[in-house]
């Protein structure tokens, strides 16, 4: 299990407690969606009963804001009702 985890991108295994079967890892990722996908990958590993994120540090994030496509950038443009709403 520890080996499998170490092989995943951005994952470091830090602590393990064999008696309770718990492992503490850190995960680094570029974007929020990568963080979510990373957790899903861990949950999908065989023999993993539970995987939850406990501690989230983003002090040093250069970009707090997610990238938004240019046409949505101006506040006025949010008035554009996407076509699918009208069908």
């Amino acid at each position: 299990m520890v080996e499998q985890l170490n092989q995943l991108d951005g994952i470091d295994v830090h602590h393990r407690d064999d008696s309770s079967g718990r492992i503490v890892i850190t995960q680094e990722a570029e974007h929020i969606h990568d963080e979510v996908d990373g957790l899903k990958r861990i949950k999908a590993l065989p023999h993993v009963v539970l995987a939850e994120m406990v501690y989230h540090c983003f002090e040093e994030d250069d970009e707090l804001f997610e990238a938004v496509q240019p046409e949505l950038n101006e506040q006025e443009r949010i008035a554009v009702i996407p076509p699918y709403l009208n069908k």
Binding site: H56, L64, L85
Partner: protein, 912 residues
């Protein structure tokens, strides 16, 4: 960032995590962790998301949130977070965060067909006031509405409810919690006479048996599920059974999975009840001392409109069932009638009426629910052998009945979002009460709450069309009098006529009865079923819709005015979770730009109106109440003047910034250096959130809903308290003499006061007018199986259910800030059985059209996902704006609770 700093942070994070979950670490590691966080300030908070109510710690530095972690001292989650809770610190930093009010204008004036243009707060309130006055003058209190929320903080919900009910005298405030917990509330009030669960989360660690019904806890209450998993894995005797309509992740930990057909939960409960009776396993001592038997009418419709005037032509066949139902062969047996009988739905307007029956009648009623009958009716997976399904049902009954087993039943939306949601909630209590397995550690039916404060705010504060705080209701004169006393209102200020529930507010917008609506802390134009109707109403009818939100949601896009709103850690607040735990947090960082809290917006708006505008005579169509002239709310201005008010007083002065509240000063030592931008923006040196909480508290103290004082929730050693909090002590199990100070006699007392005097009757109707008192007792209801109103047929041949998935909260407004809506491909998937896909020439990852009588959307097919439906059944989550599944969903509701059944309608699926 340099390598050493990054490594340092990782080490620190790992150390904090290990400490949070109680793993032993060396002193050096712990010291390193402390150093990395040296200039951070940690403060306790509550997760923004689900009804579990996990505690989190928030770290701030230089006016920014820099980290969050699960709170190791929180009894709910003991340091864990789920993936949503993990993102609590980031949700306010999406780039399309609204920072200015925006109004549709052309040529410098409001124009409903105009484009959104930034305006000042004053301009926004000017137009709001103008439009409100117009709607109010034309339609009276019934012409204005507030879409409220189970995600309101307690002060927000209280301010909104007080302004609407005491100020504008309108009961048209109803929360999205109507879509979530209304059926559960009806179940509680009908059964116990008082709202909210008797137990708490510690039941998990006491119980031997966890039965989940229509609740995908693994995805929707993950931290509670982690506690259940831990219990199961560390104890071989514990059993977990998952009753569900589609295989999901909750089944992975379950010992047994029972797949049942939509709506047949009604029959399965009755099978269990019949087994209890047949095996003579009724706990006669408990039942005779603490319970009575009851039943009600079956012909109550499905909560649809009584007319097809507004229906799209394709909807007519479903719509017709509202007035007349032709019983199928299952219903005939279940309801002791004849197959093919056409039953007029005569009790649509009085569905809640009920009466006492004898135990003999109860036995007679459950008699048809044999294993053979129920198994054949309920088998949900055509691929499973009937014998196997029967075996599982029998095992389920065994588990409930086993005298040596403690049992907890958990449910959420499978039971609540149900055309007979109130019935199936009552049935859960039926079984637990028959067995005497209720209101004690490890034993009890426990209604899980979806939203973070559906309990603490929507239900307890009463932001509903029929409610007032602390379980009071607008229809009860004694309750109104009590509210008028606490709120210092003249007699008969309050409107005794129940207002429009949330789906009805939408219907009222559609037929022009409501002309001003304010949306607060929710996204109703995405979240309400049969959305095509409501979007059209918002954009095309003559009305004015205001949306307060931090982000541009679908509701914002179809509105006329958008107000930028502060998010959770940008304000002071309190939430109440599913186990009655009220928890509090301080403002951590200021809101961006001109965003302001909902409390500030409500208070500022209230400054625009004077008593003379609202407390004169007002028309309310259909109002018929003793002490009121028909159709009219009286002029109370004369009495107001006797009380010391002037008709020129503003609602702000009367309802909010009154003498008592202004004595609650800001700054306050409880802040410990934290700011309060609401207090500063109001600029009058008083602490609105605390003052409002103090006033609200009066309703509950001594009335079975006691909350502690405001400052207590902010103490460093407190992680919330489960009410009633009496003499500083919280209540773990209610109605149980060992734990509940309100129990006066016996070992159990169901002291809830509502609906505790009933006439008696037989299984079909009351037979005498004389009412018997049921003080201290709970009701065991008989409710029959009834079929879902819209089922798959030749034209729309698949079931569609909707719901949540783990990583997305509700309509994705907080956890989905990337504009997927403008991508070519939608992301929300339709989960379907591979054979159903094959049969339609569809492959995994194809884009398909999902179409019902009401509308259509496109989605991506998933046949191998974490939700594995049986054949004939599909599931689509509702978070994705680009897969707007509520255009397809059906606005049938439980007629008693008015909660929409999002789980069952018929669709066809074909390649796009």
């Amino acid at each position: 960032m340099e390598i050493t700093r990054r490594e340092f942070i990782k080490t620190s994070a790992a150390a904090a995590t290990a400490a949070a979950v109680g793993m032993p670490l060396s002193g050096t590691v712990q010291a390193a962790a402390k150093e990395a966080e040296a200039d951070w300030q940690w403060d306790k908070g509550v997760c923004r998301f689900c009804g579990t109510g996990c505690g989190i710690m928030i770290a701030t530095k230089d006016g920014r949130i820099v980290a969050t972690k699960g709170d190791p001292d929180a009894p709910v989650n003991r340091g864990l977070n789920c993936i949503k809770g993990y993102f609590n610190g980031k949700i306010q930093y999406g780039k399309d965060r609204l920072t200015q009010p925006l109004m549709r204008m052309s040529n410098g004036k409001f124009d409903k067909q105009g484009k959104f243009v930034p305006v000042s707060w004053d301009q926004a309130f000017d137009e709001m006031e103008k439009q409100f006055r117009k709607a109010y003058a034309e339609k009276g209190p019934a012409g204005v509405a507030v879409f409220g929320s189970g995600q309101y903080t307690i002060p927000e919900g209280y301010a909104a409810a007080k302004l609407m009910k005491a100020g504008f005298r309108s009961n048209n405030i109803d929360p999205n919690a109507r879509h979530c917990m209304a059926s559960a509330v009806v179940g509680f009030i009908q059964t116990f006479g008082i709202d909210e669960p008797s137990g708490n989360y510690d039941d998990i660690e006491y119980t031997d048996t966890v039965i989940t019904w229509g609740a995908n806890m693994a995805e929707c209450h993950p931290i509670l599920w982690s506690r259940v998993s831990a219990r199961r894995l560390s104890n071989d005797n514990v059993r977990v059974v998952n009753l569900t309509t589609a295989n999901n992740q909750t089944s992975d930990i379950a010992d047994t999975e029972i797949i049942f057909k939509p709506g047949t939960d009604l029959a399965i409960w009755n099978y269990i009840a019949r087994e209890i009776v047949k095996r003579d396993a009724v706990n006669h001592d408990y039942v005779s001392k603490h319970c009575v038997f009851a039943t009600g009418p079956y012909d109550i419709g499905y909560g649809m409109r009584g007319t097809d005037k507004y229906a799209f032509p394709a909807e007519n066949d479903t719509q017709a069932k509202e007035l007349k139902v032709k019983l199928d062969k299952w219903e005939a047996i279940a309801q002791r009638k004849k197959e093919g009988e056409v039953v007029e739905q005569k009790h649509r307007d009085k569905p809640v009426a009920h009466w006492l029956i004898s135990f003999d009648d109860f036995k007679k009623a459950v008699e048809p629910y044999t294993l053979d009958f129920v198994a054949e009716l309920s088998r949900g997976n055509p691929g499973e052998e009937l014998a196997s399904h029967k075996e599982k049902l029998k095992e389920l009954a065994d588990l409930y009945i086993d005298q040596n087993r403690k049992v907890v039943s958990y449910w959420t939306m499978g039971f609540n979002q149900h055309y007979r949601g109130s019935w199936v909630n009552e049935q859960a209590y039926m079984v637990h009460l028959l067995l005497g397995k209720q209101a004690m550690p490890g034993n009890g039916a426990f209604s899980l709450t979806g939203q973070p404060s559906a309990c603490g705010t929507a239900r307890e504060v009463g932001t509903f069309a029929h409610r007032l705080p602390a379980d009071l209701v607008v229809t009860n004169p004694k309750h109104r009098a009590r509210a008028e006393e606490i709120w210092k209102l003249p007699h008969n200020t309050l409107n005794p006529k129940v207002g429009s529930h949330i789906v009805k507010i939408m219907r009222d917008l559609e037929d022009g009865q409501v002309k001003f609506a304010w949306v607060q802390v929710n996204n109703p134009f995405q979240a309400t079923a049969n959305a095509n109707h409501w979007i059209k109403a918002a954009r095309e009818m003559d009305n004015f819709i205001v949306v307060s939100d931090p982000y541009p949601t679908i509701s914002a896009k179809v509105a006329d005015l958008i107000l930028p709103t502060a998010m959770i850690f940008e304000k002071w607040g309190l939430y109440g979770n599913a186990e009655r735990r009220t928890q509090a947090w301080r403002e951590q960082v200021p809101p961006p730009g001109e965003a302001r809290t909902d409390v500030w917006q409500i208070l500022e708006f209230s400054k625009r109106f004077r008593l003379r505008d609202v407390w004169g005579e007002k028309p309310v169509a259909g109002l018929k109440e003793e002490g009121y002239a028909d159709g009219t709310l009286p002029d109370v201005l004369a009495e107001a003047e006797k009380m010391g008010y002037s008709p020129d007083n503003t609602l702000y002065e009367v309802l909010f910034a009154n003498a008592v509240n202004k004595k609650v000063k800001w700054p306050d030592p409880v802040a410990k250096g934290h700011d309060n931008h609401t207090a500063r923006a109001l600029g009058e040196g008083w602490f609105p959130e605390k003052a409002l909480f103090n006033e609200y508290r009066k309703f509950g103290v001594g009335h079975m809903h006691d909350l502690a004082e405001f400052d207590v929730y902010y103490r460093d050693d407190v992680r919330g308290l489960k009410w009633p909090v009496v003499d500083g002590k919280e209540t773990e199990w209610r109605f149980n003499a060992k734990y509940d100070p309100y129990v006066k006699t016996g070992d159990f007392e169901f002291y809830g006061p509502a609906l505790k005097a009933l006439p008696s009757g037989d299984l079909d109707k009351p037979t005498s007018n004389e009412k018997t008192s049921l003080a201290g007792k709970a009701k065991i209801f008989f409710r029959p199986y009834a079929a879902p109103p819209e089922q798959p047929d030749e034209n729309y041949d698949l079931w569609l259910s909707t719901g949540r998935v783990l990583e997305h909260w509700h309509t994705g407004t907080m956890t989905q800030r990337v504009p997927e809506l403008h991508r070519a491909m939608p992301t929300a998937q339709i989960f379907m059985h591979p054979e159903d896909a094959d049969a339609r020439g569809i492959k995994r990852n194809d884009i398909v059209v999902v179409e019902s009588r009401r509308g259509m959307v496109k989605a991506v097919v998933e046949t191998q996902g974490r939700n594995r439906p049986p054949k004939n059944y599909t599931f689509v989550p509702f978070f994705d704006e680009a897969v707007f599944i509520n255009k397809v969903a059906l606005d049938v509701t439980c007629p008693m609770s008015k909660e929409t059944d999002y789980k069952k309608c018929a669709v066809k699926v074909y390649k796009a």
